[in-house]
């Protein structure tokens, strides 16, 4: 398939998405698409609504208003079919502590009804350089190793859409670099679509094809990193972030 065709077809379509919690609006009428093979960066200060948006996309939180379609199907009515093709990784989740890394991956593989489970585990463990910890209890993992495990469980299921909520937080720079390279390469070869959040602006610029900037639950800027930098007349994305974050939080 030509690159232009694959880029043009949206696999995720979010329309007028709103989430209110008892008088507080966490996400306020946002609409966006993620195209096939695209990495969309979701940027914003703490409390901007990034994680709530991802939770709604995973069907863990019901939107107050709005629709989410993936692969042309409505998440509200085709949850099972959609979630088979979607996965996520986040620094805010964990895996059962009393199971080893390999046992946790086996359980996830069975949950997604994968075939050739052992082969897939061998592959992902090798790709993410986890051979030395595959038989280690999850409770004994460092935070960086835990991040790699949650990334492994997400990649192993060969999703078409991947939600990554600060996937490289708490990792050392060498591993961050390897993970970014791995994700980029994997995304290119598999045509994977990714929604990516991070507080590392350089990483965001490097990883994302397009960026959405959220502030108080609303989209305040959208475009490539250079377009956003130009629009706000700042030197880099970090300065844009600081400018918008200070606007949200007040002086």
């Amino acid at each position: 398939m030509p690159a232009s065709d694959s880029i043009n077809s949206p696999v995720v379509e979010v329309r007028n998405l709103t989430k209110r919690f008892q008088g507080f609006t966490a996400v306020d009428n946002i609409s966006f698409d993620i195209k096939k093979g695209e990495i969309l960066g979701l940027l914003g200060p703490n409390g901007a609504g990034k994680t709530t948006t991802i939770h709604m996309l995973l069907g863990l939180i019901t939107p107050t208003v709005g629709t989410i379609h993936m692969f042309g199907l409505d998440l509200a009515t085709h949850r099972e079919t959609i979630l088979k093709q979607v996965n996520f990784s986040s620094t805010y989740i964990s895996m059962p502590f009393s199971l080893t890394v390999e046992e946790n991956l086996k359980v996830i593989a069975r949950l997604y009804e994968l075939k050739h489970i052992q082969q897939r585990i061998d592959d992902i463990v090798k790709k993410l350089e986890m051979e030395d910890i595959r038989h280690r209890l999850t409770r004994k993992l460092s935070s960086g190793q835990m991040s790699r495990l949650t990334l492994a469980k997400a990649i192993m299921t060969e999703p078409k859409v991947l939600f990554l909520d600060e996937p490289t937080a708490s990792l050392d720079p060498d591993i961050v670099n390897k993970i970014k390279s791995f994700l980029k390469e994997y995304q290119r070869s598999e045509g994977l679509s990714i929604l990516y959040t991070s507080h590392n602006m350089r990483e965001m610029e490097e990883m994302s094809d397009r960026i959405i900037f959220l502030q108080r639950g609303k989209i305040v800027a959208e475009g490539t990193a250079s377009e956003i930098i130009q629009r706000y007349a700042q030197r880099d994305l970090e300065e844009v972030f600081l400018k918008l974050a200070r606007e949200q939080n007040g002086p």
């Binding site: 989430k19 919690f21 008892q22 709530t52 939770h55 995973l58 069907g59 863990l60 939180i61 019901t62 949850r79 099972e80 979630l83 088979k84 979607v86 996965n87 996520f88 986040s90 989740i93 964990s94 895996m95 059962p96 502590f97 009393s98 199971l99 046992e103 086996k106 359980v107 996830i108 069975r110 949950l111 997604y112 009804e113 469980k153």
Partner: protein, 263 residues
């Protein structure tokens, strides 16, 4: 409904039990202690010449059946707590796993727990007190099955409360079933209750089951009326409680509680 996903969830708990001494202790230690204490009480009652016909059967039989109810309830509620403690609920419910599959998996887990605990208690009772609950025959089996279903009902109720109110409600996983103990008439006949409580007890399936067990002991045959009442009430309550669980799950998703339940 996918059998593969149900087995996936079961394998997660099997890995856990295989490795956790504390959880194995929970299965073997408390039932064993219960049996020792009640066994000695029964021997004492027989020694002082209490005119209770078949005291051993009454108490030890009741105790074994009570543990069936208790473990069936725990199998469901504690399985949910395990996910909550491990902050694993997001991994489960962001996967294709459905609520129905989750419930079936935890119900199966409770059957496995009941089988392990029940089998062990029967063995202890036989070794230490020469008491064989199987002497009651197969007429007891439908009552045991009904007790398991009653345990599921209390377990699903407990889980939905924990899901709704979070960690502050987790003590209910061990305490909820005891709320039903007085009106379940485990160790005494229903007629000892005051009339008001008797009316309530007749609406509780375990009360029919324990009355039935005593009837089996004294007459040797299964009282069909108690069995039908227990089965009918269990079926009705099971439908209501599963619908209630779906409703609570939906509320938790609306209020964003599912992603915060372990916090």
């Amino acid at each position: 409904m996918s059998l593969g996903r149900i087995l996936a969830l079961l394998s997660r708990h099997m890995y856990l039990y295989k490795r956790s001494f504390a959880r194995l202790l929970e299965i073997f230690y408390w039932p064993f202690l219960d049996l020792v204490v009640w066994g000695f009480i029964t021997i004492y009652l027989e020694k002082v010449g209490m005119s209770l016909h078949g005291a051993l059967s009454f108490f030890l039989g009741a105790l074994i059946l009570w543990d069936v109810l208790f473990r069936a309830q725990q199998g469901i509620a504690v399985s949910f707590l395990e996910e909550m403690w491990a902050r694993n609920l997001m991994n489960l419910f962001a996967s294709p796993l459905t609520v129905g599959e989750y419930l079936v998996a935890t119900m199966t887990m409770s059957v496995l727990k009941v089988t392990a605990v029940g089998g062990l208690m029967m063995l202890f009772a036989w070794v230490f007190y020469s008491y064989d609950i199987l002497q009651m025959g197969f007429s007891l089996l439908p009552f045991v099955l009904n007790l398991v279903v009653s345990g599921w009902i209390i377990g699903v109720l407990t889980t939905s409360i924990i899901m709704r109110f979070g960690q502050q409600a987790e003590v209910l996983a061990w305490g909820m079933v005891f709320l039903f103990q007085p009106i379940s008439c485990v160790f005494y006949p229903i007629e000892v209750l005051p009339p008001v409580l008797q009316s309530i007890a007749w609406m509780v399936p375990p009360a029919h089951i324990f009355e039935g067990m005593r009837a089996v002991l004294t007459t040797g045959s299964a009282p069909v009326t108690h069995l039908l009442w227990a089965t009918g009430l269990n079926c009705g309550f099971l439908v209501i409680i599963v619908a209630w669980f779906y409703h609570t799950f939906s509320i938790c998703k609306e209020r964003g509680m599912l992603v915060r339940v372990g916090e």
